[in-house]
């Protein structure tokens, strides 16, 4: 099982292959479309993340001392970004996540490429992941 840092590095390397915004967006759209289905019953208000133009739902569960995340959005580019976040943070221990610098989105170059409203939504999404992890520490 890879570590949080290793998964981050892998995603960053994959994403760095795309120079043009068009390719980046097409990749995110593809990721969004192929994200594992999120159960409708989990689309409750307490699992909805504020700060997005689009709606985002984030769910989590513990298994063998590790945190796992499931998420969904009605906007596909957001969903693609979510899919990257899940790939990186799912399977990490709460301590690993709590110690993370959460610079991942900025490192991907998405924070500056996406609108401030969107960036704020991403920030709230990562904050929710961090708080969830801190809650288990």
């Amino acid at each position: 099982m890879s570590s949080l840092e290793e998964r981050k590095a892998a995603v960053l390397e994959e994403f760095s292959m795309y120079d043009e915004w068009l390719d980046k967006y097409e990749y995110l759209i593809e990721l969004g479309k192929s994200l594992e289905a999120y159960p409708e019953s989990e689309k409750t208000d307490d699992k909805m993340i504020k700060g997005c133009q689009s709606r985002v739902w984030l769910n989590h569960w513990m298994d063998g001392g590790k945190l796992y995340f499931g998420a969904d959005s009605d906007a596909i580019i957001t969903k693609g970004i979510i899919s990257l976040l899940i790939r990186v943070y799912s399977g990490a221990t709460p301590a690993e996540i709590a110690a993370d610098d959460f610079a991942f989105i900025a490192d991907l170059g998405l924070k500056e490429n996406l609108s401030p409203t969107r960036a704020n939504g991403l920030v709230s999404m990562m904050e929710t992941i961090r708080k969830t992890a801190e809650g288990y520490e």
């Binding site: 133009q53 689009s54 596909i76 580019i77 969107r118």
Partner: protein, 407 residues
């Protein structure tokens, strides 16, 4: 004047976004600034910076003259008298002022206030806050599926408890010109005053408050090429004279004693504290330019051609649902809100941004209207006289490309 000649007067339009000429289609949120507005603002700060209405020195007198000339100018443009023009920081501030002061004087428990379903939050939340304070009731007036607000529908909502009606001249989402004169007449027949939110209306119509006969009319400067932080409240003298002050402070007083204070007459009573003295005078060059553009045959026909082209392009695409469908093209301003089957408004806006196009996406400060149409948001393209037909065509081409990427 053609759109290109108009463009030259807006330095902000020179910039590019993501390596492309900037196509700015978010004018209903704010317009770009006219060069003459920037010049006026600089002159106020460099040549005429002193506080108004207080001192006798030369520059204070010049600043006061510039400020008060603006009042005369706005009054004459609206066909009002100067004591009926109150300066504020924007339409939202004007609406809050009326809701608060009218509410204080005339609204009691169980009274009713009518607003349309299509109101911007700024013409809704201040009334809701008032209703909570006074235990009054805010009632929505239904609009048609086409977006039209019908006088008959409004008339049926009026009861003996109705104390004021607040409606937009043109909704910031639907872009349909409401029949304000008829709506006002319906209310006046029952003795009920009407406030008109002209945040979009003032930008696209020659407004004559004497002809409309509305009791209040409000608008912002920043949506019509003037500086940000400028707004106007027109109120009929008979109403302004009866409203209590809004904020306390300088300028709004007549005499102040510890035993009690008496207040200045309108409009001074509503202009407490130092006003936005550098920016309010920019309303003059902005409104002058707007007036010229509205009278200019070439500009008017170009705007109508853009409206006709956009209506046709959006309505002939079965994936697109347009909100605010006029019976006749003349009833629609060049503002188009729509949804696309299978494509989220935010995704579309993000992709269009990469193509250099600025549009608005989301709920557009009109959540009840989004609920009314059963959507979580829309995409909106809103045009100004500096937008060209080429931009409209480029927008539609880009929209089609964006849809292809997503669907």
């Amino acid at each position: 004047m053609n759109a290109k000649e108009i463009r030259d007067r807006f330095p902000a339009l020179q910039r590019s976004v993501h390596g492309r000429p900037w196509v700015y289609l978010d004018n209903a949120a704010t317009s770009q600034r006219l060069q003459a507005v920037l010049d006026c603002w600089m002159e106020m700060n460099i040549q005429k910076n002193a506080n108004i209405h207080r001192a006798v020195h030369t520059v204070a007198v010049e600043a006061t003259e510039a400020f008060e000339f603006t009042r005369d100018f706005v009054a004459s443009l609206l066909h009002a008298s100067r004591e009926e023009i109150v300066f504020t920081s924007g339409a939202t501030a004007s609406l809050n002022l009326v809701a608060s002061c009218f509410g204080e004087a005339f609204i009691g428990e169980g009274d009713e206030i009518l607003v349309s379903e299509a109101e911007h939050h700024s013409n809704l939340v201040p009334w809701q806050m008032l209703c909570a304070r006074k235990k009054a009731v805010l009632k929505p007036v239904r609009i048609e599926n086409s977006g039209a607000l019908l006088p008959d529908t409004l008339e049926k909502c009026i009861s003996e408890r109705t104390k004021i009606v607040a409606i937009s001249h043109i909704s910031n989402v639907l872009g349909i010109i409401n029949p304000v004169k008829d709506l006002v007449a319906v209310c006046h027949r029952k003795g009920i005053p009407v406030l008109v939110d002209g945040a979009q209306g003032m930008v696209h119509q020659a407004v004559d408050v004497a002809d409309l006969d509305c009791d209040f009319y409000v608008f912002s400067g920043h949506k019509l090429f003037a500086a940000t932080g400028t707004g106007v409240l027109y109120g009929k003298k008979k109403w302004l004279d009866r409203l209590p002050p809004y904020m306390g402070g300088g300028e709004m007083i007549e005499t102040v004693r510890f035993s009690g204070t008496t207040y200045a007459a309108a409009p001074g009573r509503f202009e407490a504290g130092t006003q936005n003295i550098a920016s309010i005078p920019t309303l003059v060059p902005a409104l002058e330019f707007l007036h010229t553009v509205q009278q200019d045959a070439e500009t008017v026909s170009e705007q109508q051609a853009i409206t006709a082209y956009m209506l046709d392009a959006l309505q002939s695409d079965e994936r697109i649902r347009l909100y605010g469908v006029p019976r006749r093209t003349e009833e629609k301003i060049p503002l188009f809100s729509f949804t696309v089957t299978g494509a989220h408004h935010e995704d579309l806006a993000l992709i269009l941004d990469k193509m250099g196009i600025a549009v608005r996406s989301g709920q557009m400060c009109a959540e009840p209207l989004m609920d009314r149409f059963g959507v979580t948001g829309m995409l909106r393209a809103s045009f100004a006289p500096y937008n060209t037909m080429e931009e409209a065509v480029y927008f539609m081409q880009s929209l089609n490309k964006a849809i292809k990427m997503l669907v």
